[in-house]
Structure formats: structure tokens, C-alpha cells
């Protein structure tokens, strides 16, 4: 239904889409997820040419929309779009918004368009507000009306561009419910969203976008349960990282503590958690790693916090010979560590650069 081939979109100084390739079949419901600024919305807007791609090709039903003389406005009629900011026509009431396309673009009679429009408004639970103007509606109501407007054109494909991002949390549910109902009807849909649970429930496939490409794609289960790639894993588990490369010969504890404190503050961790984190770092470095490492060895500390389940993990990766175990440290230091950590794991099969790994799982 939609083929995206080597799609590239570059702005001056930034290239959100480097090389995007995808085949989308009829009936697919595809959620596009990924960190901000990775070109999810840009991809969607390229599909209906609201953004002109820099290079590459997009075929809709075998017809190129990127070709020079493509009848873009005709192809767009097959493809509805729902916007983050709703974009209802402010000078018309809701039913007129819904009737406009059918009457002026599809040549339907006003009566037929009205009847169909009211039917659509009923299906999104908005028929009682048919004569209201957009500025009289709540965000959720506006978005439902906008979906009805999109449906009035009988589209084969619907593009949802972060449909719930501008909504009050209390209104997200009503809009998602409408989109869920649509997904069950077999429409082809592409949804850019930050609602992970929703993406998981509703989609047939998930695109994880990063680095200007579709970084990983698969079924919701594959992406959310068994992500194959590191960045995907970090994203779906909502991992936040603090990474520090240290010089074993001279560790600047003041800087390390400062960075840790900032990291904790940014993520809203409690003061105690931050203090425990600093303790764990200090004791492990002092008591375990630094005595056995030489100045030429490499040492990298990664603190990982999962916003999804609240787990906090500290990972030391280093070169040189493996250091000892926590139990071998002096009793005071190992006491402190066992107080603040849940478990400690060791691994000697890391990367070639950093073969040895110690993982501290912090207490919650």
C-alpha cells in the first residue's frame, strides 16, 4: 500500500531522515515510536508531502507522490491526517468542518454530507456538539471531531501525528478509544505516538526510529519485550543514562559526585537515592577497582535508570586484569555496598575494549 524507498529529508544543519525504507501493507496499523527529534513526524509529513523529501521515493498504491508532476492533492484525498494541534477550521462549526470535504472535494450533496457527517460524529461521540465551534470544545472533543473530519473523506490510510500529545492527561483516553475502534475496522494507519501501552495494544507492527532511519521494527511483542538493539531497549524501558569515562590514575571524585547529583536531580530521584548512588560509586572505585588498575587501563562508569520500573543500575566496564569481588573488600566497604545494593554481578565477556564488567543493582 505504501512503499518508502531511500527517503531522505535534510534541513540546513540537521538531517532528521537519512535513509528510511519501509513497506506498509493494507490493513497494517503501525506505531512509530522513538525519542524526540528522530524524524517520526517528519516521516509522516513526508508521506503526504506536507514536507517535500530531499531525495527518495514514496509510492502510495503504486503511484509515486514524490514524482515531479504527481497530482499530490488527489493522492492526499486517499490519505487522511490527524494533527497534534487538531487544526479544525476555526470559522466553521463542527458539522460544517465534517461536511466541507465531502461537499467541495467529493461533490456530495449537502444533505448527504450532513447525514454522513452526523453519523461519523455519532461514532466518535460528538453528535451533541455538532453545532459548536472549535473554540468552544475541549481538546479531546476537538481531536475526536478532527478524526471525524478525516473519516468524512473516506480515506484508505490515516496518518496520526501525535494525536494525544497536546491533550490534558484526562482526555487522552477518549481519543485513544476512538483510534482503537478504527484500528479494529481494518483501516491502514500510521500512528506517531508516545503512548507506549497504546502502541503495544493497537498496532500490528512497531517502527522504532532513531539515527535518521527505522532503527528496529517488528511486532509489538518483539519491540517491547525483546528489543534486539541497545537503543531500542533503552527507549522502551525508558532508560536514562549517565556515562563517565574515568582515569584510573586520578579520579576526580568532586566532579563525579557533582554529575551524579545533577543526574539524580534531573530524574527527580530522592536525596537518599542520590547519596546511596554516590556511596556505591565511591566504595567500588576506592575499595575494589582502583587498587588493581594501572594508569593505562580504561574505565567507564554507566549509571542507568529505568523510568519504566524505577530500577537503578551502575555498570563499571574496564580493561586490564579482572579486579576482585565485593566479598574480598575490607569489611566496612563491603558492608556499605551490601547496604545500598540489591545484587552485584560480574562479567568477563564484555567488549574487546572493556572486557571486564561489574554491575551493581541498587536498592529501590
Amino acid at each position: 500500500m505504501i512503499s518508502i524507498r531511500h527517503l531522505c529529508k535534510a534541513y540546513e544543519g540537521v538531517t532528521p531522515l537519512k535513509d528510511v525504507n519501509a513497506e506498509i501493507e493494507k490493513g497494517d496499523v503501525i506505531s512509530i515510536i522513538g525519542p524526540s527529534g528522530t524524524g517520526k513526524s517528519t516521516l509522516l509529513r513526508c508521506l503526504n508531502m506536507l514536507e517535500t523529501p530531499t531525495s527518495g521515493e514514496i509510492l502510495i498504491d503504486g503511484e509515486s507522490i514524490t514524482r515531479k508532476n504527481a497530482k499530490v492533492h488527489l493522492i492526499r484525498r486517499k490519505m487522511g491526517m490527524v494533527f497534534q494541534s487538531f487544526n479544525l477550521f476555526e470559522h466553521m462549526n463542527i458539522i460544517e468542518n465534517v461536511m466541507l470535504g465531502p461537499v467541495t472535494l467529493l461533490g456530495e450533496s449537502r444533505q448527504a454530507a450532513y447525514d454522513k457527517g452526523m453519523e461519523l460524529l455519532r461514532s466518535v461521540g460528538m453528535e451533541h456538539r455538532a453545532l459548536a465551534y472549535p473554540d468552544e470544545l475541549s481538546g479531546g472533543q476537538k481531536q475526536r471531531a478532527a478524526i471525524a473530519r478525516t473519516l468524512s473523506m473516506n480515506p484508505e490510510i490515516i496518518l496520526f501525528d501525535e494525536p494525544t500529545s497536546a491533550l490534558d492527561p484526562t482526555m487522552v483516553g477518549e481519543v485513544l478509544a476512538v483510534i482503537r475502534a478504527l484500528a479494529r475496522k481494518g483501516l491502514t494507519m500510521l500512528i506517531v505516538t508516545h503512548e507506549m501501552q497504546f502502541a503495544r495494544d493497537v498496532s500490528t507492527r512497531v517502527f522504532y526510529m532513531d539515527e535518521g532511519v527505522i532503527y528496529e521494527q517488528g511486532t509489538p511483542e518483539e519491540i517491547f519485550e525483546h528489543p534486539r538493539r541497545e537503543k531500542t531497549r533503552r527507549f522502551v524501558q525508558r532508560l536514562k543514562l549517565l556515562e563517565e569515562n574515568l582515569n584510573p590514575g586520578h579520579v576526580d571524585y568532586a566532579a563525579l559526585n557533582e554529575h551524579t547529583a545533577q543526574f539524580a536531580l534531573r530524574l527527580g530521584l530522592s536525596d537518599r537515592t542520590a547519596r546511596y548512588l554516590q556511596l556505591a560509586l565511591e566504595e567500588t572505585l576506592n575499595g575494589l577497582l582502583l587498587p588493581s588498575l594501572s594508569e593505562e587501563d580504561k574505565l567507564r562508569v554507566t549509571v542507568m535508570y529505568s523510568e519504566k520500573n524505577g530500577s537503578l543500575e551502575v555498570r563499571f566496564a574496564y580493561s586490564g586484569k579482572p579486579a576482585g569481588k565485593v566479598e574480598e573488600m575490607d569489611p566496612l566497604a563491603s558492608g556499605v555496598l551490601s547496604m545500598v545494593t540489591e545484587s552485584v554481578k560480574y562479567d568477563e565477556q564484555g567488549s574487546t575494549e572493556y572486557p571486564n564488567i561489574i554491575i551493581l543493582q541498587m536498592k529501590k
Binding site: 503526504n48 506536507l50 492533492h73 488527489l74 492526499r76 484525498r77 490519505m79 487522511g80 491526517m81 494533527f83 494541534s85 487538531f86 487544526n87 479544525l88 477550521f89 476555526e90 470559522h91 466553521m92 462549526n93 458539522i95 460544517e96 461536511m99 466541507l100 470535504g101 467541495t104 472535494l105 449537502r110 444533505q111 450532513y114 452526523m118 453545532l131 465551534y133 478532527a146 473530519r149 478525516t150 473523506m153
Partner: protein, 514 residues
């Protein structure tokens, strides 16, 4: 809803009219002067310091007065009637004019006279452009004038106009047959008895003589009414001969060709004299009659209003269209388009409309085929377009980009999306400002008199020049402008009401609702 609104508007207009009338009735007694008034009786008194003299710009009295009365304070006016008004209400002590004019004036208005001393004697001539055509015409004209002087025609004509002997006056210049072409005569119709408006027609000694001349030589005659200071610059481009009681001077002779004199002008000093004060209502009535009824002067106001409305409406419509075009050009992301349109807008916004009018009339469109009315419409169109395009641009920019995107995503072409979705919303943003701009366009057309167009203001000037009375012509003009502005504002409001979402009657047109 509209029906409810009308009476309110009517009441509002009525209230304003009442206020204006009240104001004027307060002002009228005010125009009467204090009790201890001094009346000048001899020219010797004018040699004293700080005597207030009036001088019309562009006349030879300027140099004359400053040389003859070096201690006086001279104020400059653009027309004789203005000086007359100032003299009557005591702001001037006197002004010099020709005896013929002075006689005409004291015949039509009370409370003024002229001092018996003849201050100067000047030859009055017609003037022609300094070129081959001018030389040829000058020869014919001189021959005619010399003969007229010899056989007494000249004296008879002058006498007929000074004594208002209508039987011996010749006025129908439209009836002339243009066998050898048409002569364009430039004159200012505020200079009785040489040239002035009577019953809506321009008449006077100058016109009379020219008709006789044209009849003999087989020319047609077109009379172009312009302000006195525009007469000499107009020679050769907009007029072939100018005649307006113009006095000979060496300085002028450097620029134009003069005919032989057809009259001499004895310069006299016009001053106030004691008069019987009529009671308030009689003077009001007299003033009313002389402003509106006599010589069917109300027709002049109607003609003027028509001209004003034609200029306002045409330049309003053309200006809006042109402004829209400029706005569209400006929105294109093309450097040349942006540069050109921005320059246009800055230039037009930074030029006074009067200056633009004069440039267009005297510099750009100098050909005879372009009338003052056309130039006025062109100038106001250009000016209005500059403002309208900026207004529209801000209006369009105020519509969120998402509106255009939503329309495009539905499958509208860019043009359809613009006209169906963006423009109606932009219009709601800029129409309130636009309404004010239309009204100020109407008001600013009052300067077209500068380029010989006889609009409402010019017509009221012409009436003032005959009645030497400021009250009724000015108040009436103000009231008419006010009413016309209200009408234009109302028309724009109608568009606004049509576009505005109707939140009162919620309905969908053309649909049977459930």
C-alpha cells in the same frame, strides 16, 4: 438583527448632527466682533507696525506688500475667500486686491469696503506657454484683444460683468465648434469677476473674452479649474492659455508669454467698515440661503459628493485588489518579489498623498488624455493598496499554519485551501482595521482639489468663495463626510457580519436537520 440595528445607527447620526448644530450656533455669535472695533479709513494707518495683512500665495501682492508696508505682519493664504473670511472676523486688518475684484466683493457681502487710494496699477494679461504653439496662439490672441480694445468690446464686456448685466454676458463655451482644435483654458474659479462659479457653471470676464476669441478663430474651449498657484506650472501640459486676472510681472515674463493687457488692475486695500448687525436668525437664514439656495449651490455639493464617492469607491475597490496582489507577491518566498513589494509599500507609506497626487498629475501623467479624476483614482489606489497589503499580510499571518496544512492534507490545492480556509479567517482579523482605513481613505480624498478635481471639499470651497461665509459650507461638508463615512463603514460591516461565525443562530445552510 439588522432591522434592530438600523434605528440605533440613525439615532447615533442624529445625535451627532444635533451636536454639530449646537456647536455651530454657539460659534456663530462668537464670530461677531468686540465692541471697540477699529475701522481703518486711510492708507496712512497701514504704515504703522504690526498691521495684519493677508496675501494670496503666487500673486504679485506678495512683493508689493512687503515693499510698500515693510512693518506689517503678512499672513499667506491660498485663496481670496479665505482672506475675506479672516478680514470679516477681524483676524486681518486688510488685504490688497484689484479694484475690480474689490467692487465685486463689496457688492455681494456686507461690512467691507476698500480705501479710495490707488496703490498701484498693473496690467492684466493672459499667459501662454513659451513654445511654438504658444507663440502662434499669442499672435492670434493679441490681434483679437487689440481689436476688442479698439472697437469697445473689451469695455462692454467688463461693464457687463461688473454690473451683472446678464444680457450682455457670454457664457456658453460648450456650444463652441472646435473647427481648428480645442483650447484648454486654465483658471481658478474663485476670482470674481474674472472667473467664478454661477449656477454650477464657470463664468466671468476671462471666460467671456475667451469664448469670443474662440468663436472668431474657430477653436473649441475647455475650461480647467485649478488652484491659482498651479496655473503657471500647468502651461503647456494641462493648459494652453491661462487667464485669471493675472498681472504682468518681469519675473513671470521669464517663464511664460504674456498677451497684450486686456485690463488694468488698480490695486486697492480692502478693509472692514461699520455695518448693521442683523439679528441671529436673519443672519442664519441669509447664510443658509446664500450657501444652498442661491444659484442652486446645493447642486454643487451633490456633484462634489458624487465625485468624492466615485474616487473613494473606485480606489477602495482597485486598491483592495492591488493590495491583495501585492500581498500575494510578498508572500512568495522570492527575494526579488519581496524586495520590490517592500520597496513599494515603504515608498507609498512614506509619501504624503498630496505630494503623490501632485507628482502623478504634474510629472508622470502630463498628457491631456489623463484627467484629474483618473489621476486621483490612480493615486489613492496606489496609496490604499500599500496599506491594504500590509493589513492583509498581518491578517494572513495571524491564521495558524495548521489551518493551511489541514486543508492541504484533506486534498485541497494550495489555491483552494488559501481562498476557502485561510482567507475567510484572515479577513476576520483584518476587516476591523480595514473598515477604519476605508473611512480614512474617504476623508483623505478631500485633498484632490489640489489637482483640479472638484470633490466635496473643493465644492464647498467654491461656495465659500462666493458667499464669504464659512459656517454653512464647512459644517455641511463635515456632516456629509460623516454620513458618507458611516455609510462606507456600514458596507464593510455587512461583509464582516457575513463572514463572522454566527453563534446566535446555530444552523447548517441547505440541510434538513434532524
Amino acid at each position: 438583527m439588522i432591522c434592530d440595528k438600523w434605528p440605533k445607527t440613525v439615532v447615533r447620526i442624529a445625535c451627532c448632527l444635533m451636536t454639530l448644530l449646537l456647536l455651530s450656533s454657539v460659534m456663530l455669535p462668537g464670530s461677531a466682533r468686540g465692541d471697540e472695533e477699529h475701522f481703518f479709513t486711510s492708507i496712512e494707518e497701514f504704515y504703522a507696525p504690526h498691521i495684519r495683512l493677508g496675501v494670496q500665495t503666487g500673486t504679485s501682492y506678495d512683493v508689493f506688500c512687503s515693499e510698500k508696508f515693510p512693518l506689517s505682519d503678512i499672513t499667506y493664504f491660498t485663496s481670496v475667500p479665505d482672506m475675506m473670511l479672516q478680514l470679516k472676523n477681524g483676524s486681518l486688518d486688510g488685504f490688497t486686491t484689484s479694484e475690480v475684484t474689490a467692487r465685486e466683493m463689496i457688492g455681494t457681502t456686507d461690512g467691507i469696503t476698500y480705501l479710495p487710494e490707488k496703490l498701484d496699477e498693473l496690467a492684466i494679461c493672459m499667459a501662454l506657454p513659451k513654445d511654438d504653439d504658444g507663440l502662434k496662439l499669442q499672435a492670434q490672441l493679441n490681434e483679437f484683444l487689440t481689436r476688442a480694445k479698439d472697437n469697445g468690446t473689451l469695455d462692454a464686456v467688463t461693464e457687463a460683468w461688473l454690473t451683472n448685466d446678464t444680457e450682455h454676458q457670454v457664457t456658453d463655451y460648450q456650444a463652441l465648434e472646435a473647427v481648428n482644435g480645442t483650447i484648454r483654458l486654465g483658471t481658478e474659479s474663485a476670482y470674481a469677476p474674472y472667473a467664478y462659479i454661477r449656477n454650477g457653471c464657470i463664468v466671468g470676464i476671462d471666460i467671456d473674452l475667451m469664448i469670443r476669441f474662440c468663436r472668431e478663430t474657430g477653436y473649441g474651449l475647455e475650461v480647467i479649474d485649478m488652484s491659482f498657484d498651479a496655473l503657471i506650472p500647468s502651461l503647456g501640459t494641462r493648459s494652453d492659455i491661462i487667464a485669471n486676472g493675472i498681472t504682468y510681472s518681469d519675473e513671470r515674463a521669464e517663464k511664460v508669454l504674456f498677451s497684450v493687457p486686456y485690463s488694468t488692475e488698480k490695486t486697492v486695500m480692502l478693509v472692514r467698515c461699520p455695518m448693521e448687525k442683523p439679528d441671529f436668525f436673519t443672519s442664519l437664514k441669509d447664510s443658509f440661503v446664500s450657501t444652498f439656495i442661491r444659484e442652486n449651490r446645493w447642486q454643487l455639493l451633490l456633484q462634489g459628493l458624487w465625485t468624492t464617492m466615485v474616487i473613494s469607491l473606485l480606489s477602495g475597490i482597485f486598491g483592495t485588489l492591488l493590495g491583495f496582489g501585492i500581498c500575494l507577491l510578498r508572500r512568495r518566498k522570492n527575494k526579488i518579489c519581496t524586495a520590490v513589494t517592500t520597496a513599494y509599500i515603504r515608498l507609498l507609506q512614506g509619501t504624503p498623498i498630496v505630494v503623490l497626487l501632485l507628482i502623478l498629475y504634474y510629472v508622470v501623467f502630463t498628457g491631456p488624455s489623463v484627467t484629474g479624476l483618473t489621476v486621483a483614482v490612480a493615486a489613492f489606489t496606489m496609496n490604499f493598496a500599500a496599506y491594504v497589503s500590509e493589513m492583509m499580510r498581518t491578517g494572513i499571518d495571524a491564521v495558524p499554519a495548521g489551518q493551511m496544512e489541514a486543508a492541504l492534507a484533506m486534498g485541497y490545492t494550495r489555491r483552494d485551501a488559501f481562498f476557502r480556509i485561510v482567507m475567510p479567517q484572515a479577513a476576520l482579523h483584518f476587516l476591523p482595521v480595514y473598515k477604519g482605513e476605508v473611512v480614512s481613505l474617504l476623508k483623505s480624498t478631500s485633498v484632490v482639489g489640489y489637482i483640479t478635481v472638484q470633490d466635496l471639499t473643493k465644492m464647498s470651497d467654491i461656495i465659500r468663495s462666493r458667499t464669504y461665509d464659512a459656517l454653512f459650507p464647512l459644517i455641511t461638508t463635515a456632516v456629509i463626510y460623516f454620513a458618507a463615512a458611516a455609510l462606507l463603514g456600514y458596507l464593510v460591516s455587512r461583509i464582516e457580519i457575513r463572514l463572522k461565525p454566527d453563534r446566535v443562530h446555530r444552523c447548517v445552510k441547505g440541510v434538513k436537520m434532524l
